[in-house]
């Protein structure tokens, strides 16, 4: 006669199992998924509280109270796994960076998962592990989360939304409206790595490019930059739409123009080559581990030296300056000696035909 083991629950079959509707239904399966997969990798004292919300200490910066910065970001990348990263680490980096570019120290993350029925648990585990690793590296724990399951065909494997909270010390004022004519424009490294790495793995466009996404948390680099005391006016990470979109945004917010110098803009050879044959412009391609800094020109060299001493800013470069311009154009002196506008993108960059 078999004996019913008290409290025995068969462990989640992470190796062969798949997400099914019960994982989102509020029953035992859901609890099991959360405890054996999410909590296992992401666990920390706040997540471990197990309540509807995490109770967190009042945020302070170096013992003093500060203002709270909050940001949220939805991640819907395809493919989910790409050279140099995956949706998991990307969802941590993206939000950590959005908080950090405000000049704040990122403290906590919340994560929401929308899972599609049929998604392999092994892939989900890889994603969550990668997320946990990225969170540990950035020093920003995931303190609360949520999971929903949608029917097959109603999602694209996994969507992840992360929300970040950080503390901003008094005295730091960064923002898109603070660029002034004469300011220096600095980029922390080469452009377009993430976008090209993703494109190289799209199903209808596989090409072999030895390129990895630059996805990375920039809070360490930013802390080092802030510590220099340089007169920083704006930091921003040029993700979707690339450098071009971000600078156009800032130019509009600040009511200024910008003049870039094509020769000074770092682009890796392989990225330039991939863009060349696809008919794309690297200035419009997404980055996930780069930042643009706009600062008083007198402090530019000092800031550059600090950035270049950090592993994520080794290729930092001064790429242009803020100018007075009523039309708020971002312009570029071409390596060819001509001049042109670097405009907003109209929709997605599409390959040219002939």
């Amino acid at each position: 006669m078999s004996e019913v083991k008290r409290g025995y629950v068969r462990p989640l079959d992470v190796k062969h199992g798949r997400v099914d509707m019960t994982h989102g239904s509020g029953g035992r399966s859901m609890v099991q998924l959360i405890s054996e997969l999410f909590a296992k990798h992401l666990g920390n004292e706040y997540l471990g509280q197990g309540n509807d919300g995490a109770v967190l200490p009042a945020p302070t910066f170096q013992g003093r109270p500060g203002r709270i910065v909050m940001s949220t970001d939805c991640h819907v990348v395809s493919p989910l796994f790409f050279p140099g990263g995956d949706i998991g680490c990307l969802s941590v980096h993206g939000t950590v960076n959005d908080v950090a570019v405000m000049g704040a120290t990122p403290l906590y993350l919340a994560a929401g998962f929308i899972l599609e029925e049929g998604f392999p648990l092994a892939d989900l585990a890889r994603i969550v592990e990668s997320m946990a690793h990225a969170a540990r590296e950035a020093g920003v724990p995931v303190v609360t989360g949520d999971t929903k399951v949608v029917e097959r065909g109603k999602g694209d494997g996994v969507f992840i939304t992360t929300t970040g909270v950080g503390v901003l010390p008094d005295g730091i004022e960064l923002g898109g409206s603070r660029a002034r004519p004469g300011d220096a424009i600095i980029i922390s490294g080469s452009l377009g790595d993430h976008g090209v790495a993703i494109m190289s793995k799209r199903e209808n466009l596989s090409f072999d490019a030895p390129i990895e996404s630059d996805t990375a948390a920039l809070n360490g680099l930013i802390a080092a930059m802030l510590a220099t005391g340089a007169d920083l006016h704006c930091l921003r990470d040029p993700t979707r739409g690339g450098l071009a979109a971000t600078l156009n945004e800032i130019a509009g917010q600040s009511g200024v123009g910008m003049m870039l110098h094509e020769k000074a803009i770092p682009v890796k050879q392989v990225v330039a080559a991939a863009c060349e044959f696809l008919g794309l412009d690297p200035l419009y391609v997404a980055n996930e581990g780069k930042l643009i800094a706009i600062c008083a020109s007198a402090d530019a060299e000092r800031l550059l030296a600090t950035m270049r001493a950090h592993p994520l800013g080794r290729e930092a470069a001064l790429i242009g300056e803020v100018i007075a311009d009523d039309h708020h154009f971002v312009q570029l002196t071409t390596s060819f000696g001509g001049r042109r506008i670097v405009d907003w993108l109209a929709g997605d960059q599409l390959p040219r035909i002939c």
Binding site: A272, T334, F336, G338, R340, D343, G347, R352, I353
Partner: protein, 379 residues
């Protein structure tokens, strides 16, 4: 980047610019048409007009496949996607061409009323064939547009489908011919009779010429006394070609010269030409945006491959649709007007909401000027 950087060298460009300045004759104006959108794009992107003396004017030509496609052709594709339920595949820029009723393929994909089209962007005809193989129960139509550069891949796809016995694949053929368009411009009253569009020579196409060779242009040089210099799409190629054109004009020559000798021969790619001839034949006439109906200026699928002709398979007929009345794309494509001369330019017609086709592709004269050069109109 090897084979690229050499053709983007700023120092060499300055030297070429100096040579052009030194060789243009005082009191003489030079107007050259760059036929290809690829050249238009290079001129705008690298700011080449800043390097030219004011007496050298570049006139943008109609060599942008997206720009010359008339509304009625896009309507055919949208109709197939929405009303016949086909999977419609096409190249990137084509998705944004404005069609009737405020639609485009992109908008038809998002949905119109309770219908939405299964419209997919492909990078090559091979992708379209693969979609057909993967979806045997669906009709897959490739909306084929472009000049001689994109024609051979369409021919190969049709032959491949035939060889495989692929029954669910067909093509809307909108391939057009460069020489016919050049003749049309040279025969236009603005150039021939009234002289309102001064044209002293052409920069000949780069990629198109790799396929058709330089021989087809010899007729224009001889018959119309217009110099042609075939040039690559890199900025130095364009500068060098302009210098060569200035020299021809100065010396009273009208010849076909080949600046793009690294890729173009006199006879072109004969293998590709043969494939095209096997699959396609001349259409008696074809409507171009801007040039209106041009006889023998486009290709249709031969009877032998009629099974792959979407126009026949779905029994759809071309219906001409007039352009927006205020849109000057037609005149711009013929070199009669500049983008800035159009009332819609930069106001209601922008790359986000193109009214005319020249605002769609980055090769289109309006989009190139709007995206790269409009600061010049404002300062």
């Amino acid at each position: 980047m090897k084979y690229i950087d050499e053709f983007r060298d700023g120092e060499l460009a300055k030297n070429l610019a100096l040579s052009i300045c030194a060789e243009v004759q005082p009191g003489r104006n030079y107007s050259f048409m760059e036929f290809c959108g690829g050249h238009t794009h290079a001129i705008s992107r690298y700011g080449l007009s800043d390097l030219l003396p004011p007496t050298v004017r570049m006139v943008h030509g109609p060599g942008c496949p997206v720009c010359v496609l008339p509304i009625g052709r896009v309507d055919m594709a949208i109709n197939l996607a929405l009303d016949h339920g086909v999977i419609l595949c096409t190249y990137g820029d084509t998705l944004r061409i404005p069609a009737s009723g405020g639609l485009s393929l992109m908008k038809a994909k998002a949905g119109v009323g309770d219908k939405s089209g299964d419209i997919r962007m492909v990078y090559s005809t091979i992708d379209a064939l693969q979609i057909a193989r993967d979806n045997p129960a669906r009709e897959v139509v490739f909306f084929a547009i472009g000049f001689e550069t994109t024609t051979p891949p369409t021919a190969v796809a049709i032959q491949q489908a035939d060889a495989e016995g692929l029954k669910n694949f067909s093509v809307i053929c909108c391939h057009v011919l460069t020489p016919s368009a050049i003749s049309n411009i040279l025969e236009s009253p603005e150039v021939r009779q009234w002289g309102t569009v001064p044209l002293d020579g052409f920069i000949g196409p780069a990629h198109v010429s790799t396929v058709i060779g330089s021989r087809p242009y010899e007729f224009f040089a001889e018959e119309y006394r217009k110099p042609v210099v075939i040039a690559g799409f890199e900025p130095l190629d364009v500068m060098q070609a302009i210098l060569m054109l200035v020299r021809q004009v100065n010396e009273g020559r009208a010849e076909v010269e080949n600046e793009f000798a690294r890729a173009v021969s006199r006879d072109g790619n004969v293998k590709a030409q043969d494939r095209v001839a096997e699959v396609f034949e001349l259409r008696r006439e074809f409507e171009w945006r801007g040039l209106s109906v041009v006889p023998y200026s486009a290709l249709k699928i031969r009877q032998r491959y009629a099974a792959f002709d979407a126009e026949k398979r779905f029994n759809i007929e071309y219906r001409s649709v007039p352009d927006n009345k205020a849109c000057e794309c037609g005149a711009i494509l013929r070199g009669v007007k500049k983008p800035q001369d159009c009332k819609l330019f930069g106001t209601v017609c922008t790359p986000e909401n193109p009214i005319g086709s020249c605002m769609v592709s980055s090769e289109g004269a309006c989009a190139a000027h709007y995206s790269y050069g409009r600061y010049k109109d404002m300062h």
